[in-house]
């Protein structure tokens, strides 16, 4: 795949904004603003890295049957709920999960949204390899898999070739949280995390560093410029 991924590279550098722990709504507004600026060419390709307080989001495909608890019940349990405009189905975010939102201009990356998804998968697989984990992509099942368990989900939205939304990588997520949904129509038990798979603690800052570096390596040249985003 090296050759295909090389095609999605641009000769510009990647900017990474580290938002720490930030609520979903706030990050969504930040994404919208960055998309606007990216369309104007005012900012470079930007990767937002963030963890969210517990939240369930429903993509435009709106497969409500994959929502096990209704929004009211979710809120009672302290889980926020949003219907949003991204590809994909229902998903769950919580602390311990690294969420990445690439705001990339795909006109610089071969104008191929599927190739871009494959590139995201390749970057995450490379980042997992940094931890000695052998992950893979499964054709027709977007995301990153450790065997038959899903460690990262992805779903993006594209406006005039600029991307938003992105991926969610379970680093040390409490996997029981997934039981409120059928993630992308799958059994919640299909989800795993790096910590669960390795059987030990995983350093979130280290994962952030690796993901940032592997994204830059896949899509850009040079080292990523990592900035505090808050």
């Amino acid at each position: 795949m090296a050759e295909r991924v090389a095609e999605v590279r641009t000769d510009a550098a990647l900017q990474v904004l580290d938002l720490g722990l930030t609520p979903f709504a706030e990050t969504l507004a930040r994404q919208e603003e960055l998309v606007r600026l990216r369309l104007l060419g005012a900012v470079p390709d930007t990767l937002l890295l963030v963890e969210h307080p517990p939240v369930v989001t429903l993509g435009r495909a709106k497969q409500r049957e994959n929502l096990i608890l209704d929004p009211e019940e979710l809120r009672r349990r302290g889980v926020e709920f949003f219907e949003i405009t991204r590809g994909g189905d229902v998903t769950y975010h919580a602390p311990g999960q690294l969420v990445g939102y690439p705001i990339f201009d795909l006109r610089q990356h071969g104008r191929d949204v599927l190739l871009f998804c494959r590139g995201m998968e390749a970057a995450l697989i490379a980042a997992l390899a940094d931890f000695g984990m052998s992950a893979s992509a499964i054709p027709g099942k977007a995301g990153v898999w450790l065997g038959d368990r899903k460690v990262a989900s992805l779903g993006i939205s594209v406006r005039r070739w600029v991307t938003l939304h992105g991926f969610a990588l379970n680093v040390s997520t409490d996997l029981s949280g997934f039981e409120v949904i059928r993630p992308c129509g799958e059994d919640p038990a299909v989800m795993t995390s790096m910590a669960a798979s390795l059987g030990g603690p995983v350093s979130m800052p280290e994962v952030r560093r690796c993901v940032a570096r592997r994204f830059a390596e896949t899509f850009h040249i040079g080292e990523p410029a990592v900035l505090p985003g808050r």
């Binding site: 191929d112 599927l114 779903g155």
Partner: protein, 415 residues
């Protein structure tokens, strides 16, 4: 003029998409570039923008409907426009062109025959070759404003073009629609956006041309023995392999063998290193009508003639129907491109980076050949090896080309 809104091709491997939501209802107007409809393919949601300003005349595919790439989603146009011709027998083709169907040519102004050159108006009142009479002031003005004085009719003495004539022409010109909409009205046969596969070809060919230090080596291979061998063995091959190996297949076999014998050619640029590869992954160009792809036969040097022939047929068939997976186009180590099949004698193809070489194959033609003082009629074929001199030196390239030539000229080893 009504415009098709087709399911766009958002990636080389995209086959179909689903309508998620119409952002405009039938009868609503939209500006060029505004989102009209949301679609989804795999885990990607995409806002399709209006290719031109107009009214959403018709929604063909309702929300939730899945369409192949190129399938008709809806029709954009002017209020009251008849779109029945667009809807009747809607062709569902592959391609991302959101451009007009049927009347591709712009509507002609009244009284003009379609296809008639438009530059002839207004007709200048002078014969061919006649000198254009124009005042110096008028001439300077015309030059400054880009007015074609040959198209002007002079109103001065003896038809001399004067300042007023040029001023009128400038005024007329400034009333004409801007350049962009003029292009829209031009009788374009077709318009292919620089997107998808076209964009990939655009970028990679350009990159190769800018960066590679190309050298081309030519060699004429005497194919007479191979022609004889193929004729003699074809029936047997067909029985054994279930397929008739073409000359291209025989050439692939020879090239794969030569790459194994001259591995220095089998290399790729990888960052700051020239990587000489163990496996011979032979790429061959497949014409798609619009666009081309290089399909890759893995470990080609380890395959029999029958395997190579079947692999090439299968890859080419699937490439043409758009069903090649990215893996089947990746990781080639050397490319063969045969234009001999369409009658080309010799040519210098462009290297497909990060590969370092490509072999152009010309047509097999009977030619007079001088040998041992006599003239003989032989079946000759020109090979052109283009290599990147940054990565490969001349001598190994020459050895490789000579090896290919020898393998083709003495084909008994092919069995």
């Amino acid at each position: 003029m009504a415009i098709r809104l087709d399911m766009p091709q958002l990636g080389l491997t995209m086959e179909k998409g689903t309508i998620l939501q119409w952002l405009r209802a039938e009868g609503e107007t939209v500006q060029k570039g505004q989102p009209v409809v949301l679609i989804q393919t795999e885990k990607v949601e995409y806002e399709v923008e209006a290719p031109a300003a107009g009214m959403l005349l018709k929604v063909i595919a309702k929300e939730g409907v899945e369409l192949p790439v190129g399938g008709l989603m809806g029709v954009l146009g002017q209020p009251g426009e008849d779109v029945s011709s667009l809807l009747a027998g809607t062709p569902v083709g592959i391609g991302s062109r959101a451009d007009t169907l049927e009347p591709r040519a712009a509507p002609s102004p009244p009284g003009r025959v379609p296809g008639e050159p438009r530059a002839a108006e207004p007709v200048a009142a002078r014969g061919p070759g006649e000198r254009i009479k124009i005042s110096p002031v008028a001439k300077k003005m015309a030059q400054e404003h880009g007015i074609d004085i040959a198209a002007l009719t002079g109103t001065g003495p003896e038809g001399r073009i004067v300042r007023e004539d040029v001023e009128r022409a400038i005024a007329t010109k400034s009333r004409e629609p801007r350049a962009e909409s003029r292009v829209d009205r031009e009788a374009l046969a077709d318009s292919i956006p620089l997107a998808g596969i076209r964009k990939v070809i655009f970028d990679r060919m350009g990159q190769s041309w800018r960066e590679a230090a190309r050298v081309t080596l030519f060699a004429d291979a005497d194919m007479s023995e191979l022609v004889r061998l193929r004729q003699a063995r074809l029936a047997d091959w067909e029985r054994r392999f279930g397929i008739k190996p073409s000359y291209s297949d025989l050439i692939h076999l020879a090239v794969a063998r030569a790459l194994r014998d001259e591995p220095r050619i089998n290399c790729r640029l990888d960052g700051q290193a020239v990587r000489i590869r163990k496996e011979v992954n032979l790429a061959f160009a497949v014409d798609l009508g619009e666009g081309l792809v290089a399909a890759v036969i893995r470990d080609a040097d380890k395959q029999s003639l029958g395997d190579l022939a079947r692999a090439a047929r299968d890859l080419a068939d699937r490439a043409r129907s758009g069903r090649l997976s990215p893996d089947e186009m990746a990781d080639g180590t050397f490319t063969v491109t045969n234009l001999g099949t369409v009658g080309v004698e010799s040519f210098t193809p462009i290297i497909n980076p990060p590969q370092a070489g490509i072999l152009g194959v010309g047509k097999i033609m009977e030619k007079p050949v001088v040998r041992h003082g006599g003239i003989h009629v032989r079946s000759m074929m020109t090979l052109s090896l283009v290599f990147d001199h940054r990565l490969i030196d001349g001598a190994p390239a020459a050895r490789f080309l000579t090896k290919v030539k020898e393998l083709l000229e003495q084909p008994a080893w092919m069995g």
